[in-house]
Amino acid sequence: MKSICRVWLLLLCAVSTFAQKPAISEKQVAFIEYPDFPEAHSTWGSIGYNAAANTVHIGVTNHANNIGLYTFNPVQNVMKLNGFIRDMANLRPYQWQGKIHSKIVAAPDGSIYFSTDGGESREEYLMEHPQGYAGGFIMKWDPKNGLKNLGIGMQYESIKDVDIDPKTGTLYAITYPQAHFLVYNPEKNKMRDLGRLASSHVPRVLFTDWWGNCYYVDWRQRLVKYEKDSESLVFARESLPAFPGTPGSKIITGITAFAKDEAKGIIYLITYGAKVIAFHPQKEGIGKVEDLGGVFDTGKEDAWGPYVPNLNIGKNGKLYYIIGGHDNYVLKDKTVLMEFDPATRKSVILKTYPSTEITEATGYDIRDKDGNLYFAARRNPSGVGDNTRPFMIQFNPEKEIRK
């Protein structure tokens, strides 16, 4: 009897540690493959939503030298390869590109913008060597005119992320490995380098507010705002919230994901130290920062440990993210689809997946008109090495996906 009681207590403990909703229906989740690219390996945050066309765009790479640009039409439920970047941009072999690492951002006219990245070790030090990396490009694409190459950001540097001021078309970019913040006016072909903002590791994520100001972080994990009206950088006085004991390597990497709730005036952030933050931007200066807690109840383990390189927000105002990747999983060999309610600051597990089925997922703030959320994922069926295949996750937190 004693041991039965002990097991019962332990089970109760486990349930409270990992609060779990009743399983979501299989019809709320779809795994969508990328056609016509047999050597496809992965996606790296290279996904975005185009509100003008109600389409999702994805950059898929072989993680060496070939990138396919895809469009998913959720109404037709069709994933289509538009072409390969090296062909559409007339790149020469010495201008090889390893991947699109940036998110894909859309202008009000339906054009999309993204940037390219070396992606391999040879990018960082070989430089002008025949196998070296020329530098990452900023590119524009639309279905009518095809791809337009807007040029290199910085010689020899990758571009890890871009964002856009939808009102002016100004593009923002962050380079790798020197973390230079660039502001580019495509109309005037004017590139402005505002200098290095990070230390040893490059925070991967830029985001904009509804006025078109752009945000990044410095090495202290303080928000850095490019204020478009003053055309200058504004630094937050304080660092973003972090759990006690968060290592410096996590601090310098900044935020991993964001999602916007414009109606409420909030941009939700997840840090590399596993904090969920509600940021209330304001047109001038840095706005209020609200600590909503951790992404996952880690029990006795380090609260800063979980790795969340993605974030979406449902029409219900709740946050959805998938924990795990880069050999960092909160449940052994499992990725975890989570729901976080900013109102209650509580998170629940919606579903777990073997890490061979979903190895890692990226993507920020991608929701179509029907409330479907999207993640750019990859799977490693063998669980060995880095032999992955990319696919897209479509997820509707509130209803079955309409086919």
């Binding site: 002990r6 097991v7 332990l10 089970l11 403990c13 486990a14 990992f18 070790s121 960082e124 030090y125 430089m127 002008e128 060597h129 910085m154 010689q155 020899y156 490995p177 020197q178 505002l194 200098g195 290095r196 903002l197 230390s199 040893s200 590791h201 410095d218 090495w219 202290r220 303080r222 950088l233 504004v234 630094f235 937050a236 006085r237 660092s239 004991g245 968060t246 290592p247 410096g248 390597s249 996590k250 601090i251 310098i252 990497t253 880690t298 029990g299 006795k300 383990e301 380090d302 800063w304 440990g305 979980p306 790795y307 880069h326 050999d327 960092n328 999983y329 909160v330 449940l331 052994k332």
Partner: protein, 400 residues
């Protein structure tokens, strides 16, 4: 309890975080550290953005003295950092003393006592001011005392500066004309010479290569043990100035060059070895060379990296010659040259721990654009200054 161990515990076990850091090995010696000297909007004493590229550096006891370069329209700073406290202790805005200046990029020359001298470069405006000579000394309580010694060459900036061994006379190169000048500290008398300034024919040739004075003017001067001053001139040549005779000699040997790229020849760093030989760095293609003052012969020692530039040289207490090779659009590499041992050793990008209020756990700071290097007087430390929008100091120990 077995159920706990077999079922619940594994579920509770969380995978350890593995940061997504670069997969390269960095030069990170034990006891190396970075000092955060630049940070906007901070409660700590820090230099503001775009005004902190560390282009002059000197170590005096425990104190690191820095001079900076600012972006267009902004003024540079002088600063003091403490090696033992690993923090910035004093800053001084040059605008308060000499308005309209852009940079202190000559390095610091030692005068009598602990007085230092440097030259400034003005902003390139429609009505540019001249660069000034400044006298810098450290007062009690880490106060930086700056005295304006005026403009030695009317309408010109001070591109390069050197003092003699006694600290009684200064030698410099003006910008943009490239004229050589001497300045007597006691009498405040300046003499200007045209001998090393590029002539019209040379300027026409340089124009075809689209290079400006910052590329072809001598960026660094040095004094041999006999008191002769050495520097470079446009056309890949090296000159020697005898302060006693007030005469110039052009050496027979040119600077080492890559064929067809002689136009890029520029000495941008010197260091004198204990035996009196002069080691120089050629910006054009990044060659290290040695000049024997007794024979006036130049020997090309080769290139530590594939890049142009060799921005700084300094002997460490371990007897090795340390230097900064390369730079934008690539990254600077820290290297040393050990004539009796391994020859060139490329240490790559240094990466040191930075600890400061608010980042007590320490963060790693990787140096990309490194512009200045100085050895502490006791030979224990080498101090590197960055050239960034937000530049920091990087310090590593050397074994004597």
């Amino acid at each position: 309890m077995k159920i706990f161990t077999k079922i619940v515990l594994p579920v509770l076990l969380l995978a350890s975080a593995s940061p997504l850091l670069a997969q390269y090995t960095f030069f990170t010696p034990k006891e190396a550290f970075a000092i955060e000297v630049s940070l906007p909007n901070s409660a700590e004493k820090r230099l503001p953005m775009y005004r902190n590229a560390i282009t002059s550096l000197h170590v005096q006891g425990d104190r690191v003295i820095g001079g900076t370069t600012a972006e267009e329209g902004l003024s540079p700073y002088l600063f003091i950092a403490s090696l033992s406290d690993r923090k910035l202790v004093t800053t001084k805005d040059l605008q308060d003393i000499i308005p309209g200046q852009k940079s202190i990029a000559t390095g610091f020359c030692k005068g009598a006592g602990n007085v230092l001298y440097a030259g400034t470069m003005p902003h390139t405006t429609k009505n540019p001011q001249a660069g000034h000579l400044i006298q810098v000394s450290l007062g009690s309580g880490d106060v930086i005392e700056v005295k304006d010694l005026g403009a030695p060459v009317a309408g010109e900036g001070i591109f390069t500066l050197l003092s003699n061994t006694q600290g009684t006379e200064l030698y410099g190169i003006s910008y943009p004309s490239g004229r050589f000048f001497t300045y007597n500290i006691a009498s405040k008398k300046t003499q200007v010479y045209d001998d090393v300034a590029p002539k019209e024919k040379e300027l026409n040739n340089l124009h075809e290569y689209a290079v400006g004075p910052e590329v072809y003017l001598c960026k660094s001067l040095i004094l041999d043990n006999a008191g002769i001053v050495y520097g470079s001139t446009a056309g890949n040549r090296v000159f020697a100035f005898d302060p006693n005779k007030k005469t110039f000699e052009f050496l027979e040997n040119p600077l080492p060059a890559v064929w067809g790229r002689e136009v890029l020849g520029q000495v941008e760093a010197w260091a004198k070895a204990p035996d009196g030989r002069l080691y120089g760095g050629n910006a054009g293609d990044g060659q290290l060379f040695v000049l024997d003052p007794t024979t006036k012969k130049i020997k090309n020692l080769g290139k530590p990296t594939m890049m142009p530039r060799l921005q700084a040289l300094a002997f460490g207490g371990d007897g090795k010659l340390y230097g900064l090779a390369g730079g934008a659009p690539g990254y600077s590499h820290l290297f040393y040259y050990d004539e009796k041992g391994a020859g060139f050793v490329d240490l790559g990008n240094p990466e040191f721990t930075m600890v400061a209020p608010g980042i007590e756990q320490g963060i790693m700071w990787r140096g990309f654009q490194l512009s200045t290097l100085a050895a502490s007087a006791d030979g224990k430390y080498m101090v590197i200054g960055e050239n960034e929008a937000l530049s920091q100091l990087m310090v590593f120990p050397v074994e004597k």
